[in-house]
Amino acid sequence: MKRMIPLREMILGGAILVLLVLVASRFAGFVAPGNLANVFNDTAPLIILALGQMVVILTRCIDLSVAANLALTGMVAAMINVAMPGLPIVVILMISILLGAAMGAINGVLVWKLSIPPIVVTLGTMTIFRGIIFLISDGKWVNSHEMSAAFTGFPRAVFLGLPVLSWVAIVTVVIFGIMMARTPFGRAIFAVGGNPHAAVYTGINVGKTQFWAFVVSGALAGLTGYLWVARYAVAYVDIAGGFELEVVAACVIGGISIAGGVGSVGGAVLGALFLGVVKNALPVVNISPFWQLAISGSAILIAVAFNARAGRTKGRIILKSAEVPQ
């Protein structure tokens, strides 16, 4: 495992570099450090959500409700800001994370206690969350002039050369790196996805682990909800519509096995960055948005085919002479 995943990440990293070189040959300005920082900042929400989705997919589930969760939390944050302009941003952040986590907990409870397939649960809650946004907002927009300057300014504030939005993504990546590698929870996530039956006999509660995975994913969606609405300075029913599929795509491209148990933080981040570069680079070199979709789609298929091959060629080691490689 230790050798295989870095290889996969190197290939993906290489693909991103090749893409950057190709774009730079047409438009050198794209690879200027300032622009790359912008691309990273633009991809930050995708990175954050992909990490949450990764945890869920590793436990053999899927969370299709992240974008709707983001939109609902964003709307609630915006409406709170309109009602109480003086409320500190820290409080708004706490509320967003807790609200997102609560929505994730709803998904988690339905999967854990009622054993409903995760794709069905989150398809349902996705629609319900969107519906709730419509109910609480009456379908109206919350526009930038209604929001306070502190509210919209936070994600854009520059700290050590990068916007806060980028820093939030970086901190999330670091926390997840530690969580997955060095905590019992991270280990349980891999165990549940790798062999749920063996996990049960090992004393790991499979349903509970999946529940917490949904809570984590929801909390990140909530956090992103505020950042998203504040950054674009607008909240309405359909923000981030269809974004959940982009999040799943980032995970799949990043080598997170949709069958669970296999994947890494590095892979999820690179998968998100790949999509971010494709999205930002292609318009610059005058390639139509349709090609952008085709390239993203091809990347998903190539990644899945590559992972399937990696799984297949392993095979069983029966020969004694082959038992101890190197």
Partner: protein, 511 residues
Amino acid sequence: MTPHTAPASPPAVSMDMITKTFPGVKALDQVKLDLFPGQVTALVGENGAGKSTTVKILTGIYRPDGGTIRIDGAPVTFATPNDAADAGITAIHQETVLFDELSVAENIYIGHAPRTRFGLIDTAEMHRAASKLLTEIGAPFGSHTQLRDLGIANKHLVAIARALSVDARVVIMDEPTAALSHKEIEELYELVETLKAQGKAILFISHKFDEIFRIADRYTVFRDGAFVGDGVIADITEDQLVTMMVGRSVDQIFPTRTPNTGEEVLKVVGYAHPTEFAEITFDLHRGEILGFYGLVGAGRSEVMQALFGITKPSKGVCRINGDISIIRSPAEAVNGGIVYVPEDRGKQGAIIGLPIFQNITLPSIGRTSRKGFLKLAEEFKLAREYSERLDLRAASLDQDVGNLSGGNQQKVVIAKWLATQPQVIILDEPTKGIDIGSKAAVHEFMAELASQGLSVIMVSSEIPEIIGMSDRVIVMRDGRIAAELAGDELRPETLVRHAAGITTPTESALA
């Protein structure tokens, strides 16, 4: 019982000198089996005698390595299950292989449904023919019924109707009564009589002696993959059949142990479950190997799962070291010092995707972490200690467990459990499906664990293993403890007698 003389007609199917070898195991060794038209032949043997392999060869799932199958005297080979079906051989399995979401008629005719002249399925004709078959066998439901709405007994009827629909000449029934109620069994017997009257040759596989003697005309006995004998049921007694089944020779070598059992470690009193078992009371001492014997489905694994916190008993108390302990989850069982290595290899298997050391430390993670963070150095130390103890061969403990051979993966699993420093280890069918050499290694290891003071509960369906390894044996039957045996009482005949519920004790005749 109807007395029968030698059958007048030649066998419909005969297997002669059939041999089947799997890597490391000779499943069948030159066996013979004859099935006569209009007669029920019971195939009798212990677990591992080769009954299932025989069924799979007859139905074309396996191809024999040697020997001949003859139908009406003409040699045949079955390249695929379809060939066997075309030859008129059909099987009704323990767990019926049918489709829950289809109607009864569709289940009966799947694969050979009547067609209209446009090549589409002729639904009207299919239901008409199905209804006729169902009436013939006296089924209390119609052809439009959804299969999922039927109970097991009625599903068997559908399987039988399916057998009739392809005009089967040979019907194989593999423990058909295992999941049926008393009344349903009676109805099945009647149906078997009907099939007999139609001249079908029936192969009936059962562990229950009462039903063998009730409906079979002939018997064939296998032991350890070899033919032992056959004949007419009327000419044999239950005792003689048991003796043929279990044989005399226990040619496996088991490690010699000097049982040195200490104080009571585990005491289970009156464990009960609404549907699976009742009145389970036993104790287990330090350094003891306690065997659990019984037929498949006697409730042994279910009791172990309750003990390990996977299911909840409705009644009963469990004491560990004299203290009442309530085990509600596997995690609590592991904390209480009980570990369970389940029967299913896939379930007990290593977690592919985690490296060796993480597999080993998974249940002990509480001891290798500080303040919620894992200490990799301590994990490596623990993993190294137990992998050395088990002589695990791997390039590095950081290696993916999926790259190890099966035997070494099993060592990883055992190392994982020993690292939790348990007091009681439950091994469910520890040697099922592994070759003789590996079996001896597992037995050796089990004896070593016991000598180190670990208490072992071994669930096994293999009589030589149960007798060779256990200090004491609990025999279960139909979810209850049928007997507790030790010392001189540990004889194959006694075990089979209690497990199968044979009440006539004529021990002297066997000794």
